[in-house]
Each structure stands twice: as structure tokens, then as C-alpha cells.
Amino acid sequence: MYRYIAKRILLVIPTLLGAAVLVFALMRLIPGDICMIRLGSGGTTFDPRAIAACHHEIGLDRPLIVQFFSFVWGFCHLDFGISMWSGKPVSVEIAARLPISLEIALLATVVAICIAIPLGTLSALKQNTWIDVVVRTFAIGGIATPAFWLGIISILLVLDVSTAITGTPWMPPIDYVPIWRDPVRNLEMAMLPALTVGYRYAAVSMRMTRSAMLEVMREDYIRTARAKGLLQKIIINRHALKNALLPVVTVIGIEFAFLIGGLVVTEQVFNLNGVGRLFVQAVQNQDYTLTQALVMLTVTIFVLTNLAVDLAYAWLDPRIRFA
């Protein structure tokens, strides 16, 4: 057990280091000089002194290897440098926008689990009936529907429905209020984005729940439980679901990537000032320090989530622990 945990944790280090090398190399692949792009936006002729000053500021005048280690070292204590666009420290920019994204991510996960597990189980138990077909279509629909379009359509629906009921159009608020200060307003804002992202997230987990459940229902111990005369409810809750949920846990972790991707577009649709929107703005403004920090941050979160899932999996399934 401890050997497995240690091995799994140690494996994170080379992955993260490799990712850091990749991000660092990518950002240096940018054709042309970052400083020229930055200073050239005004259409002025380049002043070599200004370019040199800019190089010095970003640290481009130092040897590559030094730059790399200062990038990694900075990352280790959350110092990502100064945003090229706003002039504020990158960590400040990110910290200001993190709560809103985290909240939507958490809510979306809750939405996903609440949809995926009951519907996936139902679909498996009613295999090849119309219920199954409806649930599977609903699931594939979630995979096929672009999150941003779903967002636009849900805003449209809310507008129309609120106009029809109250006479005045209602739009969810777009400014972030912490949940402890005004929970109603906070949830009004987060509800639609969470549902939009959550639906897609649910779709993948729903399919996984269904196929895991189908597999488990064929196991001998389920037949034994049936032969004992146990109630169907108990067989499903106590015997089948418990074992079927193992792969679902993994999928929920892996699909975290979808969640991040979903947040990037959904925040744009709902005009929310979260990390995803910051990322898009960073790319649009060619703010390379900010882009670099955000990519690295996402990768780290993703790798750590997967680590957590693997450890949870080992804890839930003794076969992995002792393998």
C-alpha cells in the first residue's frame, strides 16, 4: 500500500517537470521578439533601449537555463512574475478570479454526480428499453452539445420564460458576491453556468456508470444475492452500485479536463470574471507571462486531481493496493 502511494506520488514530479519544460519551450517558440510585439502595438519605431529594458524586466537577457530555473522556482512559491498586460503580479490577477471558477467547478461536479449516477443506474437496469434509449440519447446529447451554445440557449430560455411569467426580463447577475454574504444572489449567478458545464460533465460519467453497472450486474455475487431472496433495492444499493462506482470515480477525475475546458468557454458566455475568461484574455492580449502561468497552473491542478483519484481508487479497491 505505502509503496504504491509513494510510487504514485513520486511519478507526479517528472510529469510536472516535463510539463514545465514543455510550457517554457512553447513560450520561447513564439515567432519574433515578445518585447517587440508588446512595444510594437502602438505602431512606433523600436527604441533599442526600451527593448533592452523590457528584456531585462521579463528576464530574457539571462541564460535560458537560469530563466527556466527561475520559472520553476517562482512557480514553487506561487510567484509567477508580472502580467505583461495589466502590469500587476500574475498571482494577484489569478487569486482575484479563482473563487468564482472554483465555485462553478464544484457546483458543476455536484450537478454531474446528481444526474449521472441515478440516470446511469436506471439506464443499466432498464437495458434496451425505451428508458435506456432516452437516457443514452440524453447522454450523447451532452457530449455533442457545445457548452457555449447551451449557455446561450439557456440565457435565451430564462429571458423568455421570465418575460412570459413576470412581464419583465430577468438576467442572472454577473458580478461575483461571495456566498457567505448573499447566498441567493451568489447562487443566481452560478446556477446557470454550473448546469451548463455540469450537463456535459454528467454525460460522460453517465455512460460510464451505465456500462460499469451492466458489468457488475452479471457478476456471480449478484446472482447469489438474488438467490438469497434479497430485495432488488438492497441488491442494487448495497451490492451492485458500490462496486460499479469505482470506475465512475476515475472518470469523474479524468473528466476534470472537460470541466476546465467547459469553464473557459462558459465563463465567456455568461460574462463571468473567472480564471477561464482570464486565460482567453491573456491569449488575446498576447500576455505571455500570464498565459504561461495559467497553463502551468491548469496542468498542475489536473495532475494533482488525477493523483487524488488514483489514491482514492487504491483505497476503495484493495486489488490495486496489493497488486
Binding site: L22, L29, I30, G141, P146, F148, I152, I153, V269, V280
Partner: protein
Amino acid sequence: MSITVPTDTAVLAEVAPQGMHKFLRATLEFCRRQPFGAFGMALVMFMAVLGLTADWIAPYSPTANDFDAMTQAPSWAHWLGTDQFGRDMLSRIIFGARTALIVGLTCSFVGGFSGLVLGVASAYFGGRIDLAFQRVFDIMMAFPLIIMALAVVAIFGTGVHNVIVAITIPLIPRCARVVRSSALAIREVAYVDAARACGYGHARIILRHMVPNVMAPFLIMLTAFIGQAILAEASLSYLGLGVQEPVAAWGLMLQGGAEEYASTAPWIAIFPGLAIMLTVFGFSIFGDALRDALDPKLRDR
């Protein structure tokens, strides 16, 4: 996304039948057994025909502005209405199918085949080379698809070509990993040893003897990739970081106008999204049905 991999070589007869006749018969058999998948195939083929014949069937030019007919509701003259610049929505959707298919097919084929060769090579050589490949795939997989694509766009800029590069790169390790796991099983089969004993080169063994035998999981993945690539392109274009105006692309059609005019001209928001959804939906159910047809182990699921 894990795909159980058939090691049974008999199923390959269904994938690679000899001659057109067998192919047609296999297609008919597929339609009979998988009506849902056949529906997906029909959707996909419909979109493909739209994209291929866009020049002839589109009623208007996708870029022609008609400032007398801005944000008009669907009518006989404009079946799906017009956008905020007076462009015909139907024509833009038809030409958008071309963009989506070009991006979807190029990304999945280039990404898929690179992944296929790398994955099989990784399994074939084994040992340290395999380990090195694995680590590199691991690192690349640590980047969520859209994040990697955005990073590539940040470097090379926007436009159709850069979008294709941006989406292709993250697909390579995803394909390589799945292919590798099925190639590992094939490496142990006697005919690979026989080929080696005949003194064939590495390239010949990999390409002629191993690659054809991982075709089943590969084809399934390819259909899934096309859908994913179309979705990724639409997302990038929607964010203003993908295909640029005036090229007709579904994601782009939803950018800007769609939200602003959503309440007064909902057709601008509805139709391009429907097009994306139906196409990706078609590829998804077609891919699912293909998996069920090619993988006997999953047939009863």
C-alpha cells in the same frame, strides 16, 4: 476514455473486407444491426455532402452582405433568416459544414495516424524506448485538450491552419496511448516473431504487420476524434481565437452577434449550434455503433 480492445483478428474481416462488394455488404449488415449507428452515419454523410457541394447548393454567397435584409426572421427568401450583417444563415451553415469537416478530418487523420505509428512503435520496441515514449505521452496528456490548443494558438496565432495544428497536437498522445495497449498484445503473437525471423526491417514489421491489426480500436477512436475536433474548433472560433471572419464557421457564427441579438433574433443563436450538435451527435453514435459492431465483447452491453 478507455476502449476495450479486441485481440481477435477475425473481427478485422469486418473492417477491411476485400473489394467493394464485401464492403457494401458489411455496410448493409451494419445498418441492419445498428439502426441507431446507421442514423448517425446518415447524419455524418448528410453533413459531408453539404460541405462538398456547398458551392452549388448554397442559395447565396456566405460572405455577401445585404444591408437591406439584416437580422431577418426565417422566410422563403432566407430559409434560416439572416445575421446582423444581412448574410444568409443557411448559406453560412452550409459553408460552415465545409470548414468543420476540413478541420475535423485533417486533425483526426493527421493526429490519429501519427499517434497510431508512435503507439505501435512504442509497443514494438518496448523497454527504455517504450518508457520514454510513455513519459512524453503522460506529459502531453497532462494538458487538457482545449488548454493545449489555446496555448498553441497563443504562439502561432489564429486562422484555419493554426487551429488545425492546435487541435492535432493534443490528439496524438491520446491516440498513441490506446493503440499502444492493443499493440502490446500483438507484439507477442507468433507472426511478428516470424516476420522478425525473416529479417524484415523495423519499419516493415510495424507498418505491414502490426498497424493493420490495431485498426479496429483505431477506427473507433478516429470517429470520436472527428467529433472532438469539430467541437474544439467551434469553441476556439467562438472565443475569437480560431477561424477568423469572413470564413464561414459554426463557432464563429455564434460569436458576437448571437448573444447580442439572442432575444430579438434567436435564429442567429439557434441554427449554428444545432448544426454543431447534430454533426458531433452523428459522429458519436456512429462511433459507438462501430465499437459495438467491431468489438464482440461489448456486443451485449
